[in-house]
Symmetry: C2
Subunit: 249 residues, 2 copies
């Protein structure tokens, strides 16, 4: 098979877009191989290939949330024709990572200079929950007083540190969703560090989360800690039922 005229036009478009650091989108029937932190092989199929102006590469199958192959920013990308086969070859030498895409058929090519320096604003994360508790520790337990938020210990960062009504230190670990083993692990690590570094026997530990798995609860209680059922803070709901459009653009 000879590389056809139509294909040459597509290749030309791709090369121009790469040269000008445009955002480039290719729809293609392709095969992919990756080598780097791991190694992957993907047989022939239709995919969307996206190369961004920062030289990030993303390859998406027509299903699923995650790219099936990708390269990080600052990679380099070239079209190479060898023995009538058309390859998109990407490499990131510092990271020792490589992706080769064999382009069997190019369905479409699109490119444009896209400008976007905006940052997303997000509300409703774990930090918001820690803020809520730090502001009013009594929602966890009557008599709790804030000692420090984001306390830096040698063994990690404590979400919220308090004194209880008996002046015992209380380490609080927040989770937005159901707490699991890992949450208990963290809490335990902080409590043990505080005990050691301050030379005190009694340091309490509390997990604040909307719920906790049965197994994690057992582990928690085995260690003498406790669970406090706390809902993460509500953010203003902009998409109420019946609301027809966003009001704050």
């Amino acid at each position: 098979m000879v590389v056809e005229k139509q294909l040459l036009t597509e290749i030309e478009k791709i090369n121009k877009a790469l040269e000008k650091d445009e955002t480039l989108i290719i729809g293609a029937d392709c095969e992919i191989a990756y080598s780097g932190r791991a190694e992957t092989k993907l047989a022939r199929g239709d995919r969307v290939i996206l190369i961004k102006s920062d030289k990030t590469l993303l390859v998406h199958q027509p299903h699923g949330s995650n790219p099936i192959n990708y390269m990080k920013e600052n990679s380099s990308h070239r079209i190479i024709v060898e023995d009538e086969l058309v390859f998109l070859k990407s490499k990131n030498v510092p990271l020792n990572e490589f992706v080769d895409v064999l382009l069997n058929k190019i369905h479409f090519v699109n490119s444009a200079k896209l400008n976007d320096g905006t940052k997303i604003e997000l509300t409703g994360n774990e930090k918001d929950m820690a803020d809520m508790i730090a502001k009013n520790p009594a929602i966890i337990e009557k008599g709790l007083r804030l000692v420090n938020q984001e306390e830096q210990t040698e063994y990690g960062f404590i979400d919220v540190l308090c004194h209880d009504k008996n002046n015992n230190l209380v380490v609080i670990e927040c989770k937005r969703y159901k707490a699991d083993f890992k949450a208990v692990d963290q809490l335990k690590r902080y409590v043990e560090k505080i005990k050691k570094s301050r030379g005190i026997e009694t340091v309490r530990g509390i997990i604040a989360a909307p719920s906790i798995s049965d197994n994690a609860k057992a582990l928690l209680e085995d260690n003498g800690f406790s669970f406090s059922a706390i809902e993460p803070p509500r953010y203003k709901e902009r998409f109420r039922k019946g609301q027809k459009r966003l009001g704050e653009f």
Copy 2:
């Protein structure tokens, strides 16, 4: 501003693609709001909007690896024109998640029926490392004998469980990369569970990884565990220097 003829053509293309479950790509100057597990707002800028045939939505800025906004598969997407403003509205009612995209300017629209049922083959993960150690525990320490791999405990799964030359149980936690606090936490949890469930005093713990952070090492040793420097297994390198193309398409 009146919705122009050109824009109407683009909207028509989008609606047709959505109707036919094609993979759809839109380049647009847009503003985005999301509400669901959290809430986000993204001011005006150029982005690539991808809607897959499984009704996944991805919005990419011209930089970075991750989508700035997204919706999971089986969401529904509609173009809605209100007061001369053009919105792409996505919703996933079961998940209670919503994305609204205000399309200020559509740079391009592309759609195609893409077919891809292939699965990726991957080699070089943590399991390979655990396999290597299970097959030959002596690479960790002379005299180690395998007891079980992937041992299920009530407090999680142990990568590799061995007996040492003195018949002490040894829990081995593998990490492909530099081990951190979390790795030590896991090891500690498993060791304590084994001690308790089997009623034995002496259970050893080893982290097998190429390296470990100083802090994690301190925590490890505070708990009487040890570190074994182990490189993850090499996979066959298909992208050797000087190799010009993939040989296995």
